[in-house]
C-alpha cells in the first residue's frame, strides 16, 4: 500500500453558503475558519479530509460570489461616442477582475500556491462550469501546475445533503470545457450585440425623448436579444386585447328534466357565428319534436398526478398558486437549496432516475408538517412510482425535498415554496386520482348534443396536492341507448366573444419556453429586466374581468373595444399604456406576493419599440423569438460538441450585423412609433 502523501487541496464553491455547508459535511465539524482580507462574506475553511482519489489531505475550502471575471470593451471603445456602434461587433474585449472581486481573486491565487489539486465546487450548470474555468484561470496565475491534466477537477452534486456531498467528493470529474465555451460565447454575443444595439437605439431615440419632455432624466434605452422578444410577447397580447372586436354567436341549448334532475346537454357544434344558420337548425330540431339517446357510456377515468418538478413548472406554479413572481420564486428556491432543504432548483429534468431512493425521501417527510400523515400513508404501502416526462438535462434531477425541515424554521415565502415542493413530490409518489365518467349523447333533429357526469371515487394524490381540483359533478339520471324523449326545454341562446386577458407571468413563461428563448435559468431574469427597464409594468388582474375568447354566454361588459390610445408619456416618457377601461388602481409596482394574479401591461415606450421595429419589416424581427431561439440552439450545439465557439460567435454576429444595417436604414420608422405612442401624435 502506497504511503499516503499529505496533499493540499483547494476547493472553491460558487457561494459562501455552499462552501460552509460542504466544508462542515466533509470535516465532520472540525473546521478552522479564517477571514479573507477585503471581503466580509467569503471565508476560508480549513480541515483534514481523506479523499478516495488522493488520500489524506489538508483542505482549504473557499468560494467566490458568482462570476469572478468581467468583460468589457477595450478602453478605446468604452465611451459611447467613441466609435460607430457597429464597430463593437469586432472590437476587442478585455477579461478582467472587477475591483470589488479583486480580494476573492487574490485569495484564490495565493491559496493556489500551496495546493496540488484545485477542486471546483460551483453549481452544476453551464454558468457554474464557466465560473469554474474562471476560477482555474485565476488559480493558475498563482500555480501554473494546476493547468496540467487532472490537477483541476470538479464535483458533481445536485443538493447539499451530507451523504450526497461525501459521495460527490469521492468522485470528481473534469470541467466541461464545451459548456464553459457555450457560456463564453453567450457572454461575448450579449456584450457585442447588446452594446451595439443599445447605443444605436439610445442615440437615436433618447434625444427626442429628452427634448420632448424637456428633461435630462431620460436614461439609456437598452436592447437585449432576449428581452426584446419577451417584450414582444407582452406587446402583442396587449395590442390583441385592445384591438379585439367582440362578435355575437348563437347556440342551441337543450335541457331535460328526469328523475328530478335537470340535465343540460351541450351542442356538438358549440356555437356558430351565423344567426340564420342556427335558426334553421333550431327549427329543424323543434320539428323533430323528440330526441333519441345514441350513446350511454360509463367508464373509469382518472386525473393524472403531476409530473416531477422542473424550473419552468416551478415558476409557472409559483405565479399561479403562490402569488410569487418568477424572480422571487427562484430567489427563495435558491435559498432553500443552499440551506440543504431542496435539490438544485435549475433543472429541465422531469423524470426521476431509476435508482433514486424515493421511498427514503418520502420517509423523511413523515416527521412533520401538514403532510406528515399523507407521507406516512405512502410509506405504509400507498407509494407509487412517479410519472416520467420527456426531458432529462442529465445534470440534475427534478426539484424535490432533500431533508425534512420544520416549517417554523422558514420565513413566510420560504414556507410556501417549500410546501409546494414537498406536496408536489409526495403527489408524484402517489396514485392518480380515480373516478367514473358517464357520457351521454343524443340526436335531436339533425343535431348532436351530449352531456357527461363525473364521480370521483379515489382522491389519492389530490389529498396532498391541494393545487389541483377535481370534483364530482351532479349525478346524472339513468338513460338508455335508444331511449326517446321530448326535451323539457330547447332554446336558442346568444352570447358574445370577449377578449383574452393581458399576459400573466405563467403565460409569458410558457410562451418563452415554447418558443425556445431563455433557458430555465434565465427566463426569470429576462422578465425582471423588462420590468426594470420600464418597458412593461405589472398590475393585479381585476377579478372576473377576463374570460375565454368565446366563452358561452359571456356578455360583453360594455367597455368599448377600441379604448383610448396609450396615455402619452408623463415627464419621463414612460407613460403607462392604457389597459381596457383604464383600471390602474395602484398596481403599477410589482409586489412580490399579492392576492391577485399579476398581468403585464407594456409602457408607451415598450409599445413604441416593438411597433417601431415591427414596422421596419419582417426580416428585422428583433421582437420575434426566432433569432434568439437560434442562438440558444447554437449554444446547445457548442455544449454537445457539434459547433465551436468561434463558429457560433461568427455566424451570430453576421446575422445581427445584417439586422443592424437594416435597422440603421429604417430608423425613421422607429422614431415615428415613438412619436405616436410616447408623444401621442397621430400617424
Amino acid at each position: 500500500m502506497p504511503v499516503a502523501r499529505v496533499n493540499r487541496v483547494l476547493c472553491v464553491a460558487e457561494k459562501p453558503s455552499i462552501a460552509k455547508a460542504v466544508a462542515n459535511h466533509l470535516a465532520g465539524g472540525q473546521v478552522t475558519t479564517r477571514n479573507v482580507r477585503g471581503n466580509p462574506y467569503v471565508k476560508n475553511y480549513e480541515f483534514q479530509y481523506t479523499f478516495q482519489t488522493w488520500g489524506a489531505c489538508t483542505v482549504t475550502m473557499t468560494s467566490v460570489l458568482g462570476h469572478l471575471l468581467s468583460h468589457d470593451f477595450d478602453a478605446r471603445y468604452k465611451a459611447w461616442k467613441s466609435c460607430d456602434p457597429s464597430q463593437l461587433f469586432e472590437a476587442s474585449i478585455d477579461d478582467f477582475v472587477e475591483e470589488s472581486k479583486q480580494p476573492l481573486a487574490d485569495n484564490i491565487q495565493s491559496q493556489a500556491r500551496y495546493c496540488q489539486i484545485l477542486y471546483i465546487w460551483t453549481d452544476c450548470d453551464r454558468e457554474g462550469e464557466n465560473i469554474g474555468t474562471e476560477i482555474r484561470s485565476v488559480a493558475v496565475k498563482g500555480n501554473p501546475s494546476l493547468s496540467q491534466p487532472g490537477k483541476t477537477v470538479r464535483a458533481r452534486f445536485s443538493n447539499i445533503e451530507r451523504a450526497h456531498i461525501i459521495n460527490a467528493a469521492g468522485n470528481p470529474i473534469a470541467l466541461d470545457e464545451a459548456q464553459s465555451n457555450a457560456v463564453q460565447s453567450r457572454i461575448e454575443l450579449d456584450l457585442r450585440i447588446g452594446a451595439s444595439f443599445t447605443r444605436n437605439l439610445t442615440l437615436s431615440v433618447q434625444p427626442m425623448l429628452r427634448q420632448h419632455f424637456g428633461n435630462d432624466d431620460q436614461g439609456v434605452i437598452s436592447y437585449g436579444s432576449c428581452q426584446f422578444p419577451t417584450l414582444g410577447f407582452v406587446v402583442e397580447r396587449y395590442l390583441r386585447v385592445r384591438n379585439f372586436v367582440p362578435e355575437t354567436f348563437w347556440s342551441i341549448k337543450v335541457m331535460h328534466e328526469k328523475d328530478r334532475v335537470k340535465v343540460n346537454f351541450r351542442w356538438a357544434r358549440n356555437h356558430l357565428f351565423d344567426r340564420m344558420v342556427v335558426v334553421v337548425l333550431f327549427e329543424r330540431c323543434l320539428a323533430a319534436k323528440t330526441a333519441r339517446v345514441t350513446k350511454v357510456q360509463t367508464k373509469p377515468t382518472s386525473k393524472w398526478k403531476p409530473l416531477p418538478l422542473t424550473t419552468v413548472e416551478l415558476q409557472k406554479c409559483g405565479s399561479t398558486f403562490l402569488r410569487l413572481d418568477s424572480a422571487r420564486v427562484m430567489q427563495v428556491a435558491e435559498g432553500l437549496y443552499q440551506k440543504g432543504w431542496i435539490s438544485y432548483p435549475r433543472t429541465e429534468t422531469d423524470q426521476f432516475d431509476r435508482d433514486m431512493d424515493l421511498r427514503a425521501l418520502v420517509q423523511k417527510q413523515t416527521q412533520g408538517g401538514d403532510w406528515a400523515q399523507f407521507a406516512q400513508g405512502l410509506v405504509d404501502g400507498g407509494f407509487s412510482l412517479p410519472r416520467s416526462g420527456r426531458n432529462n438535462d442529465k445534470a440534475h434531477p427534478p426539484i424535490h425535498p432533500v431533508n425534512f425541515v420544520n416549517p417554523t424554521q422558514l420565513n413566510q415565502d420560504e414556507q410556501r415554496v417549500h410546501e409546494f415542493v414537498v406536496r408536489r413530490f409526495l403527489a408524484c409518489c402517489s396514485e392518480d386520482a380515480r373516478g367514473s365518467k358517464t357520457d351521454i349523447s343524443i340526436v335531436f333533429g339533425s343535431e348532436l348534443f351530449s352531456t357527461s357526469g363525473l364521480t370521483v371515487l379515489e382522491r389519492n394524490y389530490l389529498d396532498v396536492y391541494k393545487y389541483d381540483r377535481w370534483t364530482s359533478s351532479q349525478e346524472l339520471p339513468r338513460f338508455q341507448e335508444g331511449e326517446v324523449f321530448e326535451p323539457t326545454e330547447a332554446l336558442m341562446s346568444e352570447g358574445q366573444t370577449s377578449p383574452p386577458g393581458y399576459l400573466t407571468e405563467p403565460e409569458l413563461i410558457a410562451l418563452m419556453d415554447a418558443n425556445g428563448i431563455g433557458t430555465d435559468a434565465t427566463m426569470a431574469e429576462h422578465i425582471s429586466k423588462i420590468k426594470e427597464r420600464q418597458y412593461v409594468e405589472t398590475r393585479a388582474r381585476a377579478r372576473g374581468a377576463r374570460q375565454g375568447d368565446d366563452d358561452d354566454g359571456a356578455a360583453s361588459d360594455g367597455e368599448t373595444a377600441a379604448g383610448a390610445a396609450p396615455a402619452a408619456g408623463r415627464g419621463r416618457g414612460r407613460g403607462r399604456a392604457r389597459g381596457r377601461g383604464g383600471r390602474g388602481g395602484g398596481g403599477g409596482e410589482d409586489r412580490g406576493a399579492t392576492n391577485g394574479m399579476q398581468e403585464f401591461i407594456p409602457t408607451t415606450l415598450g409599445v413604441a419599440l416593438v411597433e417601431g421595429y415591427e414596422n421596419m419589416g419582417f426580416e428585422i424581427s428583433l421582437t420575434k423569438p426566432f433569432l434568439r431561439k437560434e442562438m440558444e440552439l447554437k449554444m446547445k450545439a457548442i455544449c454537445e460538441g457539434r459547433k465551436t465557439k468561434a463558429e457560433v460567435v461568427h455566424e451570430t454576429i453576421e446575422q445581427y450585423r445584417d439586422v443592424y444595417v437594416r435597422t440603421q436604414q429604417r430608423l425613421d420608422t422607429l422614431r415615428a412609433a415613438v412619436r405616436k405612442y410616447c408623444f401621442g401624435e397621430n400617424g
Binding site: 358549440n270 381540483r469 366573444t497 383574452p500 403565460e507 375568447d549 394574479m597 424581427s621
Partner: protein, 244 residues
C-alpha cells in the same frame, strides 16, 4: 384553308372527325354534370389537337370546363338549375332531386369568430408560420384552477357556409350539415359541385356527403380576388357584429 381541311379529313387516325369527337366529349361532360354549350365546345375543340386520344381530350375538357364560369359554359335546362323559390325563407322545407351543378362563389367558416380568422391571417402575413420562423402563441393547457390559457381558435374549422351559383346566375346559400371532404377556406372559388337529392330549409341548402359531389376546379380571376379581399371582408363582418 388547307390545314383545316387536312384536320377534318383525316379518317386515317383512330379518332375520327371533329364532330364525332365533339359529341363524345359532350356526352362525357354531360354525364359528369357539366353539359357544355355549343359555343364552349367549339372554342375547346379549336384549341386542341384532334389527333389526341379521345380519353385524354375528355379529361382535358373536364379540366377546362371546371375552370370556366358556369354561366357561359354549360347549357341550361330546368333540370340542372336551382328550382325557382329555392331561396325563399318562407318555405320551411323543400326537397330537390337534381342533379344541379353549381359553382362556389364564397366560403365562410362560421365555427370561428371572424376576428380570430383575421388574427390568423395577420400572423401569416407577419411570417409567423414560415418554416424556421414560427411563433407559437398557443401553449398547452395548464392544470391549475386559475388556468389562463388563451382559447385561441387555431383549432380545426367548420362548419362552412357556402354561396353557390347555378348556370343561370341564381345564387343560394348552403351549409355543411356534416363535414364535406375538400370543403373549407382553402377551397378554390369557382369550384364546381353537383348536388343531388337534397333538402332546402328556409332557403338554406343543406349539404351532406351523400348528396354532394365535388368536381373541383376554380375560376382563377375570382379566386385571386377572393383571397386578396378576404381579410377586408372578415374585418367588415366582424365590425358589424357578424349578424346575418
Amino acid at each position: 384553308m388547307p390545314s383545316q381541311r387536312l384536320l377534318t379529313a383525316t379518317p386515317a387516325t383512330a379518332n375520327g372527325n371533329a364532330a364525332e369527337i365533339g359529341a363524345s366529349v359532350s356526352a362525357f361532360l354531360t354525364a359528369k354534370g357539366v353539359p357544355p354549350t355549343q359555343a364552349w365546345l367549339h372554342t375547346f375543340l379549336s384549341g386542341v389537337r384532334l389527333t389526341t386520344p379521345v380519353i385524354a381530350l375528355q379529361q382535358t375538357a373536364l379540366f377546362q370546363i371546371r375552370k370556366a364560369d358556369l354561366q357561359t359554359s354549360i347549357t341550361r335546362s330546368p333540370s340542372n338549375l336551382l328550382p325557382p323559390g329555392t331561396t325563399d325563407p318562407a318555405t320551411k322545407e323543400k326537397h330537390v332531386c337534381g342533379p344541379i351543378t353549381v359553382q362556389v362563389l364564397d366560403i365562410e367558416d362560421i365555427g370561428r369568430s371572424r376576428w380570430s380568422q383575421v388574427e390568423a391571417l395577420e400572423a401569416l402575413e407577419r411570417g409567423e408560420t414560415t418554416k424556421g420562423r414560427e411563433v407559437i402563441r398557443v401553449v398547452p393547457e395548464e392544470s391549475g384552477p386559475d388556468s389562463t390559457a388563451v382559447a385561441d381558435e387555431a383549432k380545426s374549422s367548420g362548419p362552412h357556409k357556402l354561396l353557390l351559383q347555378d348556370a343561370s346566375g341564381a345564387q343560394a346559400y348552403a351549409m355543411e350539415l356534416l363535414p364535406l371532404k375538400g370543403v373549407g377556406v382553402q377551397m378554390s372559388v369557382g369550384g364546381k359541385l353537383v348536388l343531388r337529392d337534397f333538402t332546402v330549409a328556409r332557403g338554406l341548402i343543406l349539404l351532406e356527403p351523400r348528396n354532394v359531389e365535388l368536381l373541383g376546379g376554380k375560376v382563377e380571376a375570382w379566386d385571386k380576388k377572393w383571397r386578396e379581399e378576404r381579410k377586408q371582408r372578415l374585418k367588415a363582418k366582424a365590425g358589424i357584429g357578424g349578424e346575418r
